[in-house]
Subunit: 373 residues, 2 copies
């Protein structure tokens, strides 16, 4: 069979042809006017996705570099509260511990967070809070505006990992009073991996610490960004791709894009439930299902490789499994970025086909199609 | 005029068509067997360029990320000697100061280093030394094997920035007893910017420090590299390009490639001197001219924009100026990576043409051509 694969994981996502083309060009100098124009466009076009008019830093590195730059640059705090209900929350705690004392609020992976515990921690001397907006490891959307509201009562700095929400779901940094937020290029924005953008509001600078690593010092990035440059040689092809991805978003319109992501997520959930599958997250009134990735419990008697292996071999579709202790227990469908209705329907059909052979699902595609409209 | 530019700066360098093509592909999962094969090839193919059989870490980030990862990961030292005779030596000192005490050995930019001062510093309690092999800011090749030999007498860890030498000039880490060395993707290797590879020999691990930044922890990279993965999402398109660049190097043969770089450098120097221009570096018996970039003093009465601006506008060729206090005082021609004889002759011709109009050079192209053979 001709190899023609489709990525349906929660990032990296499939690339739109235009983005591949934008990246496929001869090298230009990173100190040229041509590059500065690309940078300037990226810097400005990304602000509405964060919902901010603040500063923007763009780091050549993965989302984790962005998370660490955010925590380390603004680590002039005696203690930071880290909300952890998934793999990336846990990562924030590990990063935080490198720079200050961490009050590590652990919730079971896949469970909602408890806002009372968050408030308790902040009342107990934390001067900052870090949390993951959209936790791809479990398919949960954490209550960003409510966390920020509580933090504001205690005058704490708010750092948000928006790596898999910015550009696909609603993010309103300024309105919600989030001080620092991070996004990765390869998620909802739909570009290749390798860039992390950090948005920084004025108030964050009060927490700036000189003890930040040299490469991750956001002050250096923001200062250079004034003249549309980067402090260290940028990954030029990734900036060209990033700019094209942002142009596509501008054309779609961010509100339409958020609506599309939400509709795809609803259709996936409706399909799963109609098929007799069980969604993984256990939610309270404050949390919701992710709009960019859906985590579903693996049906009894189905091994990870039966589903994901067959899906890849037979259909050329890659979805994700569970991470760490969730390995084999859940599967995750990414529906973020420039994924189409066609891609989603193909993925759900293929999964339904494979699981039907095991007699663990009922026909449910029409329910999904109805939701997709 | 049709826009068709040629980059002749000391990185990023022009991309070979094959490298552009390799990068121009649909996204693949970073946890797929396909990616692991690409990673494995890169990991193995780069070792001969470093002249090592040690561990390899590949970071998604610029060369500076690699420099900081090297210094921070192996910072279990009371004091580090940093050799500084150019912009990147200075950067090493700034990075070093974030992790330990620095004995900052400053030499005038463009001057050779003084090995007696190096020995004095090591005798004075430094447990490590960091230096730049090929200093692109000034066009000097520092004496790597001699620095390492002195360091070995004092049992000091040796960290080398080989960002603009590895893959273009001779580097023999194991033979010279260099413990840690760094290379950037966009220099002699000829790939786009955005990856830094670090080679690590066994002895370096004695100096491993837990206080390394999370994103720059080389232990995490080396551990994941055992299964041909990366600890954080890699910049996939840059790995595809990097692998193709390494294939091109394998086809040329590293010895031939080093010889080509040396010949291009000699031709550039012969041309400059025959033209009546003056090379910038002031050398002693231990240092040499760089084989990957040539720094030339700007002739009296010629402004930077007269030369570099006209070159860009009229010929579509970009060369570099001087950095910081050398701005307007020197110009630098990069002849690294997959640059051809044709590119070099075009560049020297164009510069000669422009400077002739100012009556500051004599015809010298034939001298260069003779050297090129």
């Amino acid at each position: 069979m001709v190899k023609d694969d489709l990525l349906m994981i929660p990032g990296p996502v499939k690339l739109h042809e235009r983005i591949i083309k934008a990246m496929s060009s001869q090298m230009i100098s990173h100190r040229s006017r041509d590059f500065e124009e690309v940078f300037e466009y990226c810097k400005n076009a990304i602000k509405p996705l964060f919902g901010t008019s603040g500063d923007i830093a763009i780091i050549s590195g993965s989302g984790t570099a962005g998370m660490e730059a955010a925590v380390a640059s603004f680590s002039k705090v005696r203690k930071i509260t880290v909300v952890d209900n998934g793999k990336f929350g846990e990562r924030f705690a590990k990063i935080g511990a490198k720079y200050t004392e961490v009050d590590h609020l652990r919730f079971e992976w896949g469970n909602s967070i408890d806002l009372e515990k968050v408030e308790e921690s902040l009342a107990n001397g934390s001067e900052a809070i870090a949390f993951v907006h959209n936790e791809t490891s479990t398919g949960i959307l954490n209550p960003a505006s409510e966390i920020a509201r509580i933090a504001r009562k205690y005058n704490a700095l708010v750092i948000m990992d928006g790596i898999t929400s910015v550009g696909g779901d609603e993010v309103k940094m300024d309105e919600w009073e989030i001080d620092v937020a991070v996004v990765g290029s390869q998620k909802c924005i739909g570009a290749p991996p390798g860039l992390a953008a950090v948005a920084i509001n004025e108030r964050a600078w009060e927490f700036y610490s000189e003890s930040v690593p040299y490469y991750l010092d956001l002050k250096a990035y923001v200062k250079k960004a004034e003249s549309n440059q980067t402090p260290y040689t940028p990954a030029v092809p990734l900036f060209l791709a990033f700019a094209e991805a942002l142009r596509i978003i501008e054309e779609e319109g961010i509100e339409n894009r958020v609506e599309r992501h939400r509709k795809f997520a609803r259709a996936t959930r409706v399909w799963a439930e109609s098929a007799g599958l069980e969604l993984f997250p256990a939610l309270n009134e404050h949390s919701s299902y992710s709009n960019t990735v859906t985590a579903i419990k693996m049906p009894d008697g189905v091994a990870d490789k039966d589903l994901r292996g067959t899906l890849r071999e037979e259909y050329g579709i890659t979805i994700s499994g569970g991470q760490e202790h969730l390995k084999g227990k859940i599967f995750r469908i990414g529906h973020m970025g420039n994924v189409t209705k066609r891609d989603l329907v193909a993925t759900l059909s293929a999964i339904e086909d494979i699981l039907s052979r095991k007699n663990v699902v009922k026909p449910a595609l029409h329910a999904a199609m109805e939701e997709l409209g």
